[in-house]
């Protein structure tokens, strides 16, 4: 059992959660993730480790409620426990002093960009960050990102903060201006990562993206997380999650992530309905 020791709402339906997991806290490196199973009936869902505190023995995850499992987690209180947390999984980000790195975070993806940015900064890179979201109140980790960046640029789709437009606008400007970029790291919604990869492709700027397919075991045993990278089959849980954005078959990833569309909807409906009645029943018993 893994106790939740801290929780705060970052924006609507996005939670930052601290979990007691001393062994994982000791080992994790930037770019790695955990799989969580909330309860006996639960599925195993992957979440990036955003931060860890070796002394306190805790890891931090940021979760956006999008379906049943993430909603259950979002609804858990400090002091309650998650049944299973396994990790740290995946390959850590390769950290070295690359020179100038542009870290792009889109929406909840910023939760993944942040630890990578922090590690790169510590390795001596010049870190330029571009953080985008739909609007101002959906921005997360703005202060944290500022803390690890030499420059921070904000973009919002509706113009409520920073540049009015997309992260790719700002990145495109840099490239046009002739800024020497040694590496771009982009994490966010799949369309964003694909767009970033397209922007950097003509000038062949090294571009890393972090992929989020559906997973089951997370140990390379099932192949659910397979993606096509440069025409080859790769398992994101053991070979990734980071890959060269110029080689990723994004279309296939988008398609495969829709595999259980019907079932996911049903799960949420059942959950809302059943949880409702269950609560009612409990009241009746009291």
């Amino acid at each position: 059992m893994f106790e939740i020791v801290g929780k705060k709402e970052l924006t609507h339906l996005v939670w930052q959660i601290e979990i007691k997991a001393p062994r994982i806290a000791k080992k994790r490196k930037a770019g790695q993730f955990v799989l969580l199973r909330m309860n006996e009936q639960g599925e195993r869902i992957p979440l990036t480790i955003v931060n860890s505190d070796d002394e306190a023995g805790t890891i931090t995850v940021i979760v956006q409620e999008v379906g049943k499992s993430t909603s259950i987690l979002g609804g858990m209180k400090v002091g309650s426990s998650i049944l299973d947390v396994v990790g740290p999984l995946g390959m850590p980000t390769h950290i070295e002093n690359y020179g100038t790195v542009v870290c792009v975070g889109g929406g909840i993806g910023t939760a993944v960009t942040y630890p990578i940015g922090a590690a790169l900064k510590e390795a001596g890179c010049k870190v330029i960050s571009i953080v985008g979201s739909r609007s101002k109140d959906l921005l997360i980790l703005e202060d944290e990102m500022r803390g690890v960046s030499d420059e921070l640029h904000i973009t919002t789709d509706d113009g409520s903060s920073g540049h009015h437009g997309f992260v790719t606008d700002v990145l495109g400007e840099f490239i046009k201006e002739g800024l020497k970029i040694d590496l771009v790291i982009a994490v966010g919604p799949i369309p964003m990562m694909r767009a970033v990869s397209e922007v950097t492709r003509p000038s062949a700027i090294n571009t890393m993206v972090s992929l989020n397919p559906i997973m089951v075991d997370g140990t390379g045993m099932c192949g659910a997380c397979r993606v096509t990278i440069g025409g080859e089959n790769k398992f994101v849980c053991v070979d990734g999650p980071e890959f060269d954005g110029h080689l990723v078959d994004f279309e296939e990833l988008v398609m495969r992530n829709r595999s259980y569309f019907k079932e996911e909807k049903m799960a949420v409906e059942e959950y809302t309905y059943h949880e409702g009645t269950r609560c009612y029943d409990k009241k009746g018993d009291d």
């Binding site: 062994r23 947390v85 045993m221 993606v227 495969r256 996911e264 049903m266």
Partner: protein
């Protein structure tokens, strides 16, 4: 035994085992064979003529004293029979169910020469079930602690067998399992209707009561590496991490929605209980037409699991003919009874999807058997122009597994063969690295439960010797 008695005994017919009728069992996940009654077990046990030189024992990879345990059953001493079994085989309830007996102990049984062999496997299952169901499982008296401790990677049959022996030798044993449940393929691969999970749970519980510590959610290599385990106080490590890397075929369309590896399909259903969705949260796609590719036991398990989800049709597509099917005859028989359609001498060439990327058909070609290949089996050859489309919305690829790469990746100095399997000394299970032993599928590639257990026991004996003498 006097000749008259032998003749009498040889007249007893093989006792049939009751089974759930096919039309019932395809609607549930309960175990298919019902097991012997005590009367049937005694009658079957009496068919064994108690050979002085029992050749059946040589057919069992762990050398169980077969006539002895069968005699105890014949005498009605069921609990004693189970204990006798456990002297050599820690998981008789499992092996009695899943061993390919017809190729091992029962194949060489002397009675088989004149008719049908003694049902050694069924008797083994009977004794073990009897002991467990009557609450007769007792913890042996444990020896004094040796002060040595052993780390075991994985909790499949190889590891469970090693753990059981090592704890009884007085060593401290910690099992590290990546998943949230112990048993390896026994819990995530082999379906409930062949091996009820409560049986594996009972065996794991027994080990824990003897003092084996099991750490779940512990991926060795990602948490501690093998080197770290050795540096942090473990005196030896046994690697039983299995062959959990699914092979795909590299065919066009293989990543369409609805194409599964057998591992994924079975894990969703067994470990994650997708057949109880939405009570359990993990879904599995439920097709109208399911096509399972391959002809081994895994393919039979996938097909028989699929048919319990009530699709219109489940087919097995296999490129050779019936004779070459690698699966156990009994499993093929069960699959056929349950309505699985065998499309033999067929081979898939590509998967076809709709515009959303959902699988809709698999294109196959017909094959014929040509000259024998290296393996001595006749090589299947494509019949030109025989392409046809098989409608299908779920396909399960069951063409085998490779070695799980996690341990090799994080233990760079561990010697592997070209398939990624750990190389060990056959006699002792020693790897090339001091203090490290390995066994089961990570060494053999896909193999059997009993061979994995045999490896575990052999390694336990040499670990014990290494810990006592310190000699490598």
């Amino acid at each position: 035994m006097d000749p008259k008695e032998i003749r009498e005994r040889m007249k007893i017919p093989r006792q049939p085992m009751g089974e759930q009728p096919p039309e019932e069992r395809v609607k549930n996940f309960y175990e298919v064979p019902l097991g012997y009654t005590p009367e049937q077990a005694i009658e079957e046990a009496r068919r064994c003529i108690q050979c002085k030189n029992p050749i059946c024992v040589g057919g069992c990879p762990v050398g169980i004293d077969i006539p002895w345990f069968i005699r105890l059953i014949a005498e009605g001493k069921f609990v004693e029979a189970a204990r006798k079994l456990k002297e050599t085989n820690g998981l008789p309830a499992v092996c009695g169910r899943v061993c390919p007996q017809e190729d091992q102990c029962e194949k060489v049984c002397i009675i088989a020469k004149k008719g049908e062999s003694v049902s050694i496997g069924r008797l083994e299952k009977f004794a073990a079930d009897y002991e467990r169901e009557h609450g007769e499982v007792t913890i042996p008296v444990m020896p004094n602690a040796t002060g040595k401790s052993v780390a075991i990677v994985g909790s499949g049959p190889a590891s469970l067998a090693a753990a059981g022996d090592l704890i009884k030798m007085g060593h401290k044993v910690t099992v590290f399992e990546a998943l949230h449940k112990a048993g390896g393929v026994l819990v995530y691969g082999i379906p409930e209707f062949r091996l009820p999970k409560k049986i594996v749970d009972a065996e794991v519980d027994y080990l824990e009561r003897m003092g084996v510590k099991i750490e779940y959610n512990a991926v060795v290599g990602k948490l501690d590496t093998i080197d770290e385990l050795l540096n942090e106080g473990f005196d030896a490590v046994f690697v039983g991490s299995g062959a959990g890397l699914p092979y795909f075929m590299g065919l066009p369309g293989e990543n369409l929605i609805g194409v599964y590896s057998a591992n994924e399909f079975l894990t969703r259903l067994n470990l994650m209980r997708a057949y109880e969705f939405p009570e359990y949260d993990t879904p599995v796609l439920n097709g109208d037409n399911v096509v399972v590719i391959g002809g081994g036991n895994t393919a039979m398990d996938a097909a028989r699991t699929a048919i319990r989800l009530c699709p219109d049709e489940v087919s097995i597509v296999y490129r050779r003919s019936r004779e070459e099917l690698p699966a156990r005859v009994e499993e093929v028989h069960h699959a056929e009874e349950e309505g699985v359609n065998f499309r033999l001498l067929n081979n898939p060439v590509r998967f076809i999807g709709d515009k959303e990327g959902r699988l809709r058909a698999v294109e196959c070609v017909k094959m014929e058997l040509g000259e024998p290949d290296d393996s001595g089996r006749r090589r299947p050859v494509v019949i030109e122009g025989s392409e046809f489309e098989l409608p299908c919305d779920v396909a399960v690829i069951s063409i085998g597994n490779g070695a799980n790469p996690l341990i090799p990746q994080t233990t760079p100095d561990l010697k592997l063969n070209k398939w990624g399997n750990v190389i060990v000394d056959e006699e002792t299970g020693r790897a090339n690295k001091k203090g490290v032993f390995a066994g089961g599928d990570i060494v053999r590639g896909g193999s059997t439960v009993i061979l994995a257990m045999g490896d575990g026991r052999k390694a336990a004996a040499s670990i014990d010797e290494y810990l006592k003498t310190g000699k490598w």
